[in-house]
Amino acid sequence: MEFSFTDEQKMIQDTAQSFLAELSTSNAIRSAMNTEQGFDNDTWQKICSQMYWQATHIPEEYGGMGLGYVELAIMLEKMGQHLLCSPFLSTVCFGANALIVAGSEEQKQQYLSQICEYGLTATLAYTSSNGIWDAEAVQAVVKPQGDGYLLSGTYRYVLDGHTADTLIVAARSEKTQGDDGISLFIVEANTSGIKRTWLPTMDQTRKQAEIVFNEVELKATALMGEYQRAWPALKQIIDLATIAIAAEQVGGAQKVLDLSVEYTKERVQFGRSVASFQAVKHQAADMMMRTEVARSAIYYAACVAQEVLSNCVSLSELSEAASVAKAYCSDSYFKNAGDAIQLHGGVGFTWEYDVHLYFKRAKSSEVLLGNSAFHRERVAKLLLD
């Protein structure tokens, strides 16, 4: 058992910190978030070509660095901390993960290589508008047609769905429900019959889209894995992405704590620094407690994710670790961000200070892939049913 960073991992953390501190400034965030695209092309290219972060955990045979999920989590934590506006989460944690878990050798060769080589962007579309995040979320319908398939349906809340180059989509066969009858496909976003619309969101730092498939014809080669039996793979992809989001959340939870401590130390009220008030100190202490245990949760979950990708542990352990992390990190980030507004007083709810950006990201991340109540019920099923 070894539950601390290696020297290499510490280096990755330090590098990410200094790179993002320079790249993802408040100005950069605000400029990117005001665009429909939601990120700056140069920034994305810098990340991909200078840092090669998108290739972190992609196996070497597809041009990746072949590092582990812990290394990925370290970066995601830092991205969350610096509120990086980029298609990293969608491309790497939804797209690349889907390819790693469910892609055929040809699909991996084709798409993973492009992600590594020049930062091809990708995302996963599986949710309809019913607000559900498990198998019942899949409502798009697919049927065989000729050698290929015909897919129709509407996806909502798709991360970077309006800008991604490549879409991985889930659909179900008619008259199926629950875990049954689900298939996964990979398709170029500009395929005819696909209509993509930006959905402007409260959290401007990460973009969502609606994607409508209107009788889109898919080739046989678009299928990922086995027809109608994709739920276990899709579930694994979702669990892996869930852990990624939790890692980001920890970074955010840490950042709002840092901002609050800094601000309250400087701010003077009633002749003393605000940070000297015990009520303020105790709020900050609770924020730190939440952040630290949340951090422990994501390092553990990242280890499990790594072992799953190396085929060492069972998938149910992955699901549990993902739900433990997401339930706790969602609540922690949101509470911390709310407390940060409170500790900032009046300026906390101004547009000018950055706290509100984190507060909004905290909420959107909480909702994404299921909030804490959803994940607690998932855990309850494992324990009680």
């Binding site: 607000g131 969101t201 409260m202 009633f270 709310g338 409170q342 007083g345 906390g348 101004t350 109540a373």
Partner: protein, 400 residues
């Protein structure tokens, strides 16, 4: 103890309900349920007109004494007015600072001349007021006033220089009342003056503060040798703190029940949304909706106790002391509930670039409730110190 209103009061209720139903139509229809906290930036011109409409019906300043042009309504009737006003979805009042703060302050502390000069404009719905209390760097520490006022003998006017912040509706207002330091060597709550200042002068600059919602409801107000007539100081120079504190006392009271009716409108909207998207079957959401309902009911009972002079322990008015902390925390939780009921759809804006839905706007704006008008932390200090006699917080200069 008695829960029901008298038949006379019920007649009054019917009267205002009828008037609102007759008048909140046509050009005013669009104002329904608009212009409350977090939505103050909406329809300012139309809402100014609505103020005048109200005045024509005799429905401004209903609680003021008749001798000053008010309607002289009893507490019960004021409660009823506020309830019916909110129930009808009549728009957020633009005249509430003048009616609720300036007027009562002048009636209590103002000179006869000040009363005659200012009260009629407020009653008529023509003159809108805003308040100049908070200063940047002062925050919850209200007595920490840096804005200065000195009397220029030559001009025969007070000259005011400084900056106020968190001023709602400053850009729409005709007047501002300002707490400023008349004795430059004084500290804290001593040596202050309370001034009535015309906004329309070149030496006052208003800049909106963009909020978490992307809209501007609060403002910064800059005074660069702004002028104020000699007779427009309320009370004596140096006595401003007493007047400011008296004014804060007017802030609580009958308006709470109207505010609660707005909360009820928000909760109703949440329940409708829950039923529409199936969240109402989610046991966790059910608990939270019930909890919100319970909190709102209790808030109402508590206000009734406040308005009836308290149900216990005589003078101390504990039930009033805890009210701000309770409603602010409740409202903050309501915002979170609204979002959680909407599930993933909670994130989606009404439209680009950043037009929030009403529920989103509420959710974000409520974060200010636990901060302005005394943060939750300040409220807890006050409760512990005044309500429970626990020791006061110390001023500690130079804390390590």
């Amino acid at each position: 103890m008695k829960l029901s209103f008298s038949s006379e009061d019920e007649k009054f209720r019917a009267e205002i309900a009828q008037w609102l139903s007759d008048n909140l139509v046509g050009e005013f229809e669009q104002l329904k349920f608009r212009g409350g906290p977090g939505d103050e930036h909406m329809f300012p011109e139309e809402r100014k007109k609505w103020e005048q409409k109200l005045a024509q019906g005799g429905w401004t300043c209903v609680g003021w004494p008749t001798e000053y042009g008010g309607r002289g309504c009893s507490i019960e009737q004021q409660v009823i007015f506020n309830e019916e006003y909110a129930r009808a979805g009549a728009p957020g009042r633009m005249g509430h600072i003048g009616e609720g703060l300036t007027g009562p302050t002048l009636i209590a502390f103002g000179s006869e001349e000040q009363k005659q000069k200012y009260l009629p404009g407020i009653i008529a719905g023509n003159d809108l007021w805003c308040q100049g209390y908070s200063e940047p760097g002062a925050g919850s520490d209200l007595a920490n006033v840096s804005t200065k006022a000195h009397f220029d003998q030559e001009k025969g006017k007070w000259i005011i220089t400084g900056q106020k912040v968190w001023t709602s509706l400053a850009h729409e207002s005709d007047y501002i009342f300002v707490l400023a330091r008349t004795d430059p060597d004084s500290k804290a709550h001593k040596g202050l003056g309370f001034f009535l200042v015309k906004m329309d002068q070149p030496n006052i600059d208003v800049r909106g503060i963009k909020q978490i919602t992307g809209t501007c409801e609060f403002n910064e107000v800059f005074f660069d040798e702004a002028q104020c007539d000699a007779q427009d100081i309320v009370g004596e120079p140096g006595n401003g703190w007493a007047i400011a504190m008296g004014l804060l006392g007017f802030e609580r009271g009958v308006s709470t029940l109207g505010q609660q009716m707005q909360f009820q409108n928000e909760l109703n909207q949440i329940i409708t949304a829950a039923k529409a998207n199936g969240s109402h079957q989610d046991p966790v959401i059910r608990q939270r909706i019930a909890d919100a309902h319970i909190g709102l009911k209790i808030m109402r009972y508590n206000s009734m106790r406040m308005l009836s002079g308290g149900g216990n322990n005589g003078e101390l008015r504990q039930e009033a002391l805890i009210y701000k902390l309770f409603w602010a925390s409740w409202h903050r939780d309501l915002g979170e509930l609204a979002m959680d009921v909407l599930k993933a759809e909670a994130e989606i804006l009404e439209s680009a670039p950043y037009n929030l839905t009403r529920m989103q706007s509420m959710y974000l704006f409520v974060r200010s409730d636990t901060i302005y008008g005394g943060t939750n932390e300040i409220q807890r200090n006050i409760i512990a110190e005044r309500g429970l006699g626990m020791p006061k917080e110390q001023r500690l200069i130079k804390n390590s």
